[in-house]
Amino acid sequence: MGVPVAKGRVSIIVERCKSCGFCVEFCPTKVLALSSAFNSKGYHPPHVVEPEKCSGCDLCGMYCPDFAIYATKIAPPKEAARES
């Protein structure tokens, strides 16, 4: 068993995004990429390309000028099993 790696999940509020690309550029584990799809204002919101890499550090959430993205930590499965 190796050291447990923190896991996280990214949530994106697509309609608020203005595709500045800050989250994509500064994600430490490169989880995100700008998608080719449009939102209703004509911007390209980011989408998650490598979900298993997300550590839930929420740096994308801190950089986002539009409050459109945030990451949450997921409890490791072992602990979750113990809790339940």
Binding site: R16, C20, F26, M62, C64, P65, T72
Partner: protein, 290 residues
Amino acid sequence: MNDFINSVENPVERFLRTDRMPHIWCPGCGIGTTVNCFARALIESKIDLQSLALVSGIGCTGRVAGYVKLDSFHTTHGRAIPFATGLKLANPKLNVVVYSGDGDLSAIGGNHLIHAARRNIDLKVICVNNLIYAMTGGQTAPTTPGHAITSTAPYGSYEPAFNLPHLVEAAGAVYVARWTTFHVRQLARSIAEVFQKKGFGFIEVISPCPTLYQRRNRLGDGLDTMKYYKEKSKVRHGAPTNEVGLTMTGEIIVGKFVDRDRPDYQTLMRTQLSESLGERFVESAEMVCS
């Protein structure tokens, strides 16, 4: 920061008037990032939101007062600090934050800035410096660095620019820091720290203005500017503020420059008045209408 780890909604949502989103700031503008850091600093410092008031002036950054779900006031141009001074004097228990831009604080409100720092009034000033008058169309501001092209300087600006940390330190601020929108964690920590200080705290945040400043000067978009901040900024805590002036493409010195203690305005007022009036002096906090 553990409070929101298992939350299902954006942790900053409760600090925002979400019915007014999306906001008016351009794609790539850094003001939203600074608001984000401010909200996270509020979470971190666990400050009582009922004892917090936010005052802003006119300009792009002036819009912050309308987007935060706090007691806030959007004042006339340059008068954020005078309004905040009155607010603080009338209700000394309030934490008053002035959130405004470089044009509002250092140009039309420049006199108020230096005198608030001289008096050491207990205000927390967050100055978002985008190096230009952004909302009115990109005119030369007192902080525009030399050679930059603006709508009023089409052949390049030749005025020497204000070095805001140096200005407020010389005037007497007790806490002076500068960060860029790239330094989100440091900025949030700095804002949380300034709430612990008594006296005039000043945090300058260098922010991109992709629509007017970066576009006219061919410096790319907001993301390119963030990469430039990442590459060219150097953290030097305690750096002498006369050495931290900004240039158009040069190094940006960031960090906490000044952290000192001086008696604040209300302490000085209380000392002087109780000395000369004796028992006739009534504590202003007792007269406050709540």
